[in-house]
């Protein structure tokens, strides 16, 4: 049924003229009201009756990406574009810009040297993105267990802020990065658009709260993963010991095993 809206478009977090004079009401109405809406309609048109129809936008985006080894499944492009746009609108606020809050600034100074260093990297990424795409500020969380696609910023240097650009609809979540800030480079790639975005529109408060959540999620997940991992290891050792038991007839071997047990900290 084409009339069912599986995915509904999120409302803008502010009135359409709130970003003036930097982004005009007309541009917002076209970009949010027409351009993003086309993605919502196309997506709803293609997922009805399929395995995707009950999923949330994020789930759909991650699972239709197809790990980047093959072409993504059809819903990916529209699902990711809707997600990216919602995220983009919420990366801005009227009267935004200025200096980031202290806590965020500490991260920025640590990972980019300085605020200006970050802006420079941002501008570089924006001006070298070829074709359509996005520029992102992300918190590089350790790799999600279900993410198999390769990060464009390999190295195991996790727990840092990174700037990346992505072609077309790609969202850094598929690489296991937690996005904090997005700039749409689809219609307008002029450098003054990017600098206006960073100076006048970006909501550093939002970025900071996203960072806080990303760090928290990473800590929770890594702890969970590592406990699970240790438990699994211990279980495997215990099982192999039980299997070995009937053959062990002399007591020496049994003593050895219990010695091993102690060294494992069981």
């Amino acid at each position: 049924d084409a009339s069912v809206s599986w995915i509904e478009q999120q409302p803008l977090p502010y009135p359409s003229d709130a970003l003036e004079p930097y982004i005009s009401k007309e541009t917002v109405e076209q970009h949010w009201g027409v351009h993003q809406n086309i993605h919502v309609e196309r997506l709803n048109g293609m997922i009805g009756g399929s395995e995707w129809e009950g999923m949330s936008l994020g789930q759909m985006m991650l699972s239709s990406f197809n790990e980047g080894r093959e072409a993504p499944h059809p819903p990916f492009f529209h699902a990711a574009q809707i997600w990216n746009h919602d995220f983009y609108w919420r990366s801005m606020q009227p009267g935004g810009g200025g200096k980031p809050p202290e806590r965020l600034l500490k991260f920025i100074n640590r990972d980019f040297g300085s605020y200006d260093g970050m802006i420079r990297q941002f501008m570089d990424a924006a001006s070298t993105q070829f074709g359509s795409g996005w520029v992102w500020l992300c918190y590089k969380t350790s790799k999600l267990p279900h993410v198999k696609s390769r990060s464009p910023i390999p190295s195991d240097n996790y727990g840092r802020l990174v700037i990346s650009k992505s072609p077309n609809a790609i969202n850094p979540l598929v690489w296991g990065h937690s996005p904090l800030l997005a700039i749409d480079l689809w219609e307008d790639r002029r450098s003054d658009y990017v600098s206006t975005f960073l100076e006048k529109l970006v909501s550093w408060e939002t970025v900071e709260s996203r960072l806080k959540k990303a760090v928290q999620r990473a800590v929770e997940r890594d702890e969970y993963v590592s406990t699970k991992h240790i438990r699994k290891q211990l279980l495997a050792r215990a099982k192999s010991r039980i299997r070995a038991m009937p053959q062990q007839v002399n007591g020496d071997a049994r003593e050895q095993t219990s010695g091993q047990e102690k060294s494992l900290g069981v």
């Binding site: 076209q30 027409v34 351009h35 074709g131 359509s132 072609p167 609809a169």
Partner: protein
């Protein structure tokens, strides 16, 4: 009325005035597209060539070589975009559109069933391209037939040789036999800078107007005649003495 901008290495040429394609493509769009975007590609390419191993190549050679079997070198994007744009402007003429010349029409009817089918196919291909890129009518040399394809970003059919069957590429100029497998006949720019000012998100209207009012079938006839020097599109017809 010819407008010529000369660069030190590769030049740009627009074969009509900037307002000649109105109302389908506005003067403002042409000025921005040709005068700014394409100029940027030319400038960056010339800048790269000052220190590049590709200095002295023809643009076609450069595209083929820099594509590097799908692992493009830095020069590729700029070179291909310069070529694609030039080819694009030449694919249009004021008061274009309408019906193709007889030879082209026959081939279209042979390979697509009818001109209407071709038109639909061209529009469908353009609308199904995600993101930036180009849609092309090409002559597949091996299969000896027309086909509609679209390519992402700067990918040009010139570069898409058959890797398994790679013959050392020497010269990809139109008038010298070469291992060119896809001979482009028409291209349409589907980067947003090409239509966004005039059409916003209505890509369908842009593509339809291109096919109905802008495409230069005269150019296509010329390009096909050149291609026919290397590809036999009909049954072999050898005159008996």
């Amino acid at each position: 009325n010819l407008i010529v901008v000369r660069q030190d290495r590769f030049s740009m040429l627009l074969v009509f005035t900037t307002d000649a394609l109105e109302p389908y493509i506005s003067k403002r769009t042409v000025e921005l597209h040709w005068g700014k975007h394409q100029q940027d590609y030319v400038d960056s390419l010339n800048k790269q060539l000052a220190t590049s191993m590709f200095y002295g190549y023809t643009l076609e050679e450069l595209i083929k070589e820099a594509y590097n079997n799908g692992n493009p070198l830095p020069e590729y994007n700029n070179a291909a975009q310069v070529w694609n744009h030039h080819f694009f402007w030449e694919s249009m003429q004021p008061e274009g559109g309408g019906s193709p010349g007889r030879g082209v029409l026959q081939q279209i009817e042979k390979d697509f069933g009818s001109f209407t089918n071709f038109r639909e196919e061209f529009i469908r291909s353009a609308l199904s391209l995600l993101g930036s890129g180009w849609v092309w009518l090409v002559l597949k040399r091996k299969e000896r037939k027309f086909s509609v394809v679209h390519t992402q970003n700067a990918i040009s059919p010139l570069a898409l040789g058959d890797i398994n069957n790679s013959i050392p590429s020497i010269n990809l100029c139109d008038d010298i036999p070469c291992p060119l497998l896809l001979q482009p006949l028409i291209n349409l720019d589907l980067w947003e800078h090409a239509y966004y000012l005039d059409y916003k998100d209505d890509r369908r209207m842009y593509v339809t107007n291109f096919i109905d009012h802008l495409v230069s079938w005269d150019t296509v006839t010329l390009r096909m005649m050149r291609a026919e020097a290397f590809v036999n599109l009909g049954e072999p017809n050898i005159p008996v003495a």
